[in-house]
Structure formats: C-alpha cells, structure tokens
Symmetry: C2
Subunit: 316 residues, 2 copies
C-alpha cells in the first residue's frame, strides 16, 4: 500500500469540522426522545447551544474521528466519510463534556471569566443558575448521545464509549484534575504533581477522545494500547504548550487573557521547569506520541499525526 506523501491536514480538519458542527447543531436541540407531554424548555436548549455551537477548534472531536478512521480497516475516503455514526456520536459527546466544563469553569465561583472565544460567557449571558443547569444538562446529553435507541451503534460499543467517557470526565479524570487545580493555587508543585494534575484535568479527556475513536473500530489490544500511549503523550503536550503560550502569546492571538496563570499564581510547566526546558519537554512529548503511533502498526495514522503536530505548533 502506498500513501500519498502529502496529507492535507487543513482540508481534512475543515471538512470534518463541518460534519461535527452540523451534528452538534442537530443533536443539541430536541434530545433523542422527549418525555410524553413536555419537551425540554427552550431557554435551557438555547443556553446549551450557545455554549456549544460556533466555537472552538474542535480538537477533541477531530481526535475521535481521526482515531476512528485510523482504527477502521481502509483509508478515509477523499471526502470525509464520517459515515460511522458511532464515531460521530463519540466526537460530539466528548465535545459536550468539554463545553460543559468550560461553562462551569467560567462561573464566578471558579475562574470568574466574562469572555470566552470573544463572546460573553454563558453565566454572563444567561445568568449563573442557567449556566449551572446548562452545564449539567450538557453532561447528561453527552451520555444520551452515546446511547441511542437505534441499533446503528451496537450495545457493546455504547457501553464501552460511556465507560471511557465517564471515567475521563469524573473524579479520576477531568473533575478530579480541576479539584487539584483549585487546591494548588499558590502551592509549589513539583513536576510530578503538576503532571498528575494535568493528566487528570486536560489529559484524561484528550486521551479518551483517542480511545473512544479507537473503540469505534475493532483493533487488537496492542494497537489500542499504543493509541492510549499516543493520547496520553498528546494530552500532556497540549498542556505544556498551553502553559508556554500563556507566557509567550498576547491575549489577542490567544483569544483569552494571556499571563493569567502567573497572575493567579498558578503553577505551570513554565514556572516549574522554565521556558526553554518546557519547550524541549513539549517536543519530547510529541516525539513520544509519534513513536506510539508508529508502534500501533496501523496503516494510516496521518490525521492523528497531523493533529499532534498541530497541537505543538499552534499559536492559540
């Protein structure tokens, strides 16, 4: 098998982003089955759509879809074929968890952010109580998306996707990482503690994105484990780069307040390691991720590779 030397990551991403946007717009509306007499309240749906649609790089959904394509037997079709409903549902479910975490993170009792992606945050726009409920409902909707009535997603895969997502979102994943983050302001963490925090806070969901994509195929255990290592290294690299950008980028490029971590006295990879060592660490993690991809033995991991390189080279 010979693959074209050049992989058009920008084209691949743009095409898949469209599919994800359309699916999110379709699914964050009236849920699978409304109750017999009452539909979901329009105001709640509006705040959920506001939180989810038209925003973000959709890195997590793209990782799901790239992993699903890598895990499928053939190559992705030249035009994006996200025909596999499992993968599309998994991609959107992960994004809903990410979106809910941003809504809750932005609330006054957490980071108290008033702007997100250039728009007023959900609690500024809809009020705090509505933001709380919108986040709660988005988390539930993620699991609803993974468990459709139709048989297009086999039950064993529904169960596995729910398992991966619940673990990545919960106390041994994202929520746990945020709790550590909350408790670590002003503390002098060492590198191991910093890594553990980020593995939970950001890493778990990024890794789960890769694993959930992989779970939409039927891979041998060794290949799945290699993709898990890829996801783990990528998740950590993402956070190291985030910490670097907080120092090196300006707010306009970043789309959020630069220098905020330092202002808030939060430990970061830059504060713990220094800028140059942090940059070297990010490169080492990328190498580790790409090595794991190679170990997977999968014939075409170009989209995953491209996304990993993009995470490292991103400017915002």
């Amino acid at each position: 098998m010979s693959l074209p030397a050049l992989f058009d990551l920008a084209g691949w991403s743009a095409a898949h982003q469209i599919v994800v946007e359309q699916a999110l717009a379709r699914w964050v509306s009236v849920p699978g089955v409304a109750t017999a007499t009452a539909g979901p309240p329009a105001a709640l749906i509006e705040s959920m759509r506001y939180a989810v649609l038209d925003g973000g790089k959709r890195l997590r959904p793209l990782l799901v879809l790239a992993a699903a394509e890598a895990a499928s037997a053939g190559y992705p079709a030249p035009t994006p074929s996200v025909a596999d409903e499992s993968a599309l549902r998994a991609a959107c479910a992960v994004e809903l968890i990410h979106a809910y975490s941003l809504v809750h993170d932005d609330m006054p009792c957490m980071d108290n952010d008033v702007l997100r992606r250039g728009k007023p945050t959900v609690h500024v726009k809809f009020g705090e109580a509505s933001a709380l409920l919108a986040g709660d409902a988005l988390q539930a909707l993620a699991f609803e998306l993974l468990t459709p009535d139709e048989t297009r997603v086999p039950a064993f895969r529904q169960a596995r996707l729910c398992r991966l997502l619940a673990r990545a979102a919960g106390c041994a994943g994202m929520a746990g990482g945020q709790a550590i983050d909350l408790a670590s302001v002003g503390l002098a963490l060492n590198e191991r503690q910093l890594r553990e925090m980020h593995q939970l806070k950001t890493g778990a969901l990024l890794q789960a994105s890769v694993m959930m994509g992989a779970a939409c195929g039927t891979l041998p255990a060794a290949a799945e484990q290699a993709l898990a290592r890829f996801g783990e290294a990528l998740g950590l690299a993402f956070q190291v780069v985030d910490d670097i950008l907080d120092v090196t980028a300006d707010s306009a490029t970043l789309g959020k307040t630069a220098g905020k971590d330092a202002d808030q006295n939060k430990p970061t990879y830059v504060s713990v390691l220094g800028l140059a060592p942090a940059q070297a660490h990010a490169q080492a993690l990328l190498a580790q991720a790409l090595g794991a991809l190679k170990d997977s033995g999968l014939p075409d991991t170009r989209a995953l590779q491209g996304l990993a390189e993009m995470v490292l080279s991103r400017t915002h």
Copy 2:
C-alpha cells in the same frame, strides 16, 4: 402461588437501605479504575461522600431494587438478596444523580440553602467551587457505576441503563424541569404546565428508577409499559404530596424550611388546585399507580406497592 398476606415494608426497606448505604460507601471512594499515575484527589472524594452518604430516605434506590425484584422471576429472598449487581449499580447511580442535583440546587445561585438534612450544605461546608465540582463528578460517577469493566453486568444492559438515566437526568428530564422551575417563579402556571414541570423535574428520575429496575429483569414489553405508567403516576404523586407537606407540615418534621414555596412565590399544586383538591389528586394518582402495577401482571409487586403507599402517607 400464594403470598403471605402481610408484607413488611419497613423491614424490607431497612434491609435494602443497608445494602445501598454500603454500596454507596464502597463506590463513592476510589472509582473503578484510577488513572495510571494519579488517583482522584482526596478533597473531591470527601465532598462527594459528604453529599451522598448518611442521608436521605433512599427512595429512588429502593424503587430500583423493588422494581428489579418484581421483574425477576422469583420472589425476593426473605433476607434481601440484592445479589444482582446490575440492580445495585442502577440503584446507586440514580441516587448519585439525585445527590448531585441537591448539591447544585442548594448553591447560592440556585436556592441558596444552607442546611440539608440537618447538616450544612456542601457549598457551605466545602466552598462553592468544590460544590460545583462535587456535583459534576457525582454525575459522571453515576455513569461510571453503570459501566463496569467486569462482565457481571451485560453490555446491552449497561447501555440501556445509561440511556434511561441520561434521558431522565438531562434537558428532557431533571435538568429541564429545573430550568422550567427557575423560569416559573412568580408566574401563574395552570395545572398542565405545573404537571409538565414536575414530570421533568422530579418525575423523570423517579420513573427512571422504576424503569431501570425493570431493565435489570427480562420483562415482556407490556409489563415494562405498565411499570412505566406506575413510575409516572408515582413520580407525580410524590410532587403533589411534597407541595401539600410544604403547607401542612412544620419545618422540624419536614427537615427543611416549610412554607418555602409560598414564600418564594412558586406555583405548587396547593396554590393552583387548593389544599383539599390537591389531596384528592394525590389519592387519585396513587390509585392510578396501583392500577398500573396490577396491569403489569407481575406475581409479586408488594414492595413497589408499599413504596407507593409510603410516598402518599409520608409526613416528611
């Protein structure tokens, strides 16, 4: 088959409550699988346990277990045999969703309650940010409980339980009902609108408790539908009684502030129907629930019947 004329609901409930408490204490700790390097932060787990353990009537878990026993072929053993891991996991998962909703409901941006079951609420005890995260993590943990690695819960049942719970918790269920509740303060709802709000806010999760228990057996569709009608009537009856108690009981008996709905100008069954018609309505709903139980054709629904009668006769 002849059944003993007397069913000891108090004994049945007490024995099953112990099993539920023990399971919650075991499962709200270190989750199924911690990440490779970092466990969940102790502070988060502590706030989650505070929110869940030693509190509440455990009505929803009891409904799950009663429905699961009714749906199983034989009779429940004389000593409670909650050997079926599916049912116990479902019982605890429903309670985690209920507990998270109380934590978030009590927060200052929602009901701003400082006491719950005689103890300081989670945000008073641990701070608002921790309460937000504890609630979020409890919701994720509910789905984690439903999707264990072990094969003791078959995958098709894991998927079905996640589906039922996600729908009942989300925007067409509990979260949606709370959003309507939020929007309806000071509004003059008619009875249909009030019913729709409560069917989502309280009814969906109570009905799901019954349905999830039923899903742990292998019932014909007609019996499942009858249990769904039972759960729907019971869920509504629960709320009507809640509204009645808010007017007729004192705070000490109620364990929460009596007269709060009226003070907050919230529409209730008593404010919409009047006290005596609300009481008659509750009785009619109980009759409807018991009729549905009979329609189910199941040989032993005594625990479900007892729980329904208890919901009507409760004083708090």
